[in-house]
Point group: C2
Chain length 137, copies 2
């Protein structure tokens, strides 16, 4: 299967596939005589693995680690895989907490402002940002 068909089957761009090859996430099994990439069913499975991992929030470099483990399963433990997953989950939780603080602060700010069409001379959002320390504490 050439790159164009492979890409459209997966719903990604050919650029993305070349990018993944460059970054050692997926290399087409073989090349045609004219040098075109020739993808196999195995490649399809691997690409689906990658896309699923992306869908649950893993970054490409984390996926690279997962692939290494997948290729050499006997040399890695469940412990290791679970740790990667839990670490990722914790990082996500930290980011959620930060964004939740942002959301809260922005709501507080928005609630203070009348939102009218008059000039912003006394806009509470601006004056709050000018005057008050520790908005987030």
């Amino acid at each position: 299967m050439k790159i164009g068909e492979f890409a459209s089957q997966l719903g990604v761009s050919t650029d993305t596939l070349r990018y993944y090859e460059k970054h050692a996430l997926l290399t087409a099994t073989s090349r045609t005589q004219s040098g075109y990439r020739d993808y196999s069913q195995t490649d399809l499975k691997q690409m689906k693995f990658i896309l699923r991992a992306k869908n649950v929030g893993f970054s490409l470099s984390e996926i690279k680690e997962l692939l290494q483990i997948k290729f050499h399963k006997q040399q890695h433990s469940c412990h290791e895989v679970k740790n990667l997953t839990l670490q990722k989950r914790d990082l996500v939780a930290v980011r959620i907490a930060e964004l939740t603080r942002f959301h809260q602060s922005l709501s507080v700010l928005a609630d203070k402002c009348c939102g009218g069409e008059e000039p912003a001379d006394n806009c509470s959002i601006l004056t709050t940002l000018e005057d008050i320390d520790g908005l987030t504490q």
Copy 2:
């Protein structure tokens, strides 16, 4: 006040201040005869405004918009400021929702794995990523 003292008062680096100047967020009021930046109390207030806006989640380009409004309050309305704030809040909410899905999926994955020290040959995390479509749906 020279850049070093100014920076340490605010808890940022001198690099950051030069970066902000380059990107039109804050330019020191004046320069000394030898070309050193000379920051004023007004600069201090503006920098605090910027840092507070960052603290509630605004990006630097959004802060630039806020500063434009702040400088020309009469030419902008409360409506405009509130809209910026609410749009940002909505974006944050979207991102939180995405991360929450990630968190959920990662929890499901982690719960399936025994986390033991045996080889990962049958690790449920890996097999789930290999075999199952629509993990997130």
